[in-house]
Amino acid sequence: MMALAAQPGAKGTPLAQPSREEAHASLQGVTRLYHSEGRTLHALGPIDLNLVKGEFFSVVGPSGCGKSTLLDILAGLNPPQAGTVQFEGKPVVGVPEGVGVVFQEDASFPWLNVRDNIAFGLRRAGIDPSEITRRVDYAIGFMGLKDFAASHPAQLSGGMRQRVCIARTLVLQPRLILLDEPFGALDQQTRLLMGDELLRLWRETSATVLLITHALDEAAMLSSRVGVMSTRPGTFIDIVETGWDKDRDSRVVSTPHFGDITARLWEKLRVEAMKIMSASKS
């Protein structure tokens, strides 16, 4: 049995992580507060996270712990009140070039067909038309959308629309891909298969991936490392190294090691989820 190399730590104690110097993207002491109606809500942090180039990192945590806020901050969509955010050694101010996001909600443009949806970002970037055609064709084939290139999103299923959004992000060849529960609305089987596609895509692009998910099995199957977040204000209470080979796929779910990982994740997460339950009862 593979060992779960990781560093379980109590809230507040730093978890062992790759150094900031070798990080592709990093968050140091990142804190996010929200002010509303004279009250201050401490939503997130302080968070320290260093993502290694080319790794697949997943974040799991109880609902409302600030997972999506974390992703928005890393994408430059939402500046933190304290701490620093870096991507490829440069501070993140606004959305950096080379970062792609797939959102939880359906973000396909209903007025464009599949092909034009996927080409949208490339056209904005002023890329050569023949190169756009090449990349879009490849993405359409890769994502299994060949028969639907001329269809509009309204004619597609939820899973296919999400594939369009993934393809749209992929064609820009981002070096950091941020995924905010992209399979949240899909059924279990589709999610597993989409997970396989995602792994294939990750291997092919060698991009760094950060996946936000509420599904422990998804995190355990897909990731090189999984970060477990606490209840609000969200901080990392554990980071689990899965030790999977790079060419893994959804079949790992039937191995004992997969059970060990999910058990470990659930052990940590259960405590946090129960805090929310008891808080809502009182």
């Binding site: 969509l77 959305v95 070039e97 973000a107 007025w111 509009h152 999103p153 309204a154």
Partner: protein, 257 residues
Amino acid sequence: MTSKTSTSKTSESVLRLAVVALLIATVELLCRFGVIPVAVMIAPSRMAIELTKILASGEFSADIVSSIGNVLISTVLSVTLGFIAGLIIYSLPSLRAALEPLLASYYAVPTFIFYPVFISLFGVGSGAIIAIAVLLAIASMITATLSGLDRIPPVLRKTGRMYRMSRVKTAVMIELPAAAPYLFTGIKLSVAYSFIGVIASEFILSGSGIGYAIAYAYNNFENGHMYALMLLIIVLAAGVNTLLNGVDKRLQMRRQR
């Protein structure tokens, strides 16, 4: 499934046409057999003949052109001004909160009561007619603009930011097409209200236009002219509406998510 839906759609339109044809045929028979006296109404077939006659003679061409022109100007003005007003109201939430109840009850006020005001402002003629039609149509465009902007999914704006698009580019390339189906509903209503506003105003405050010509024919017992012009308005309104519905249908189909 699709073929089933399209078959039922076809049979629906066949049935709709049949109902209209039956109604026309009934009126035709009632007129032919004198149940409806000629002094009250002429047979639909004669209406059509009279219409071709007046179209060929060009007797009412100036009136027809004037009415269509006024409807067009009213539509363009109410759509443009309504859209701009909608944008301003949308960007000022406190103004919106204050205006929303007024907009909601706008159509409770019969706009036509203001015709004396407009006659004294613009005189008898197109100015006053267009003013009333715009007043009637503009609120529907404002409301449609507001609901269109409200319904743009926030994730689409976020996507624009991910593509590092400027505010203006996001507005033109994402927000406008996302709101388009709702804006088009506003355009459709503006056309309908402009038609109503123009034709009805011509009855009371004009010396030209189809509405005026109908009133004139009515006062002079010229049933042939009167019914021909009424038929013309129905054909025009139905034609424009069919055209706009076609576009609307395509836009709405894409909206279903």
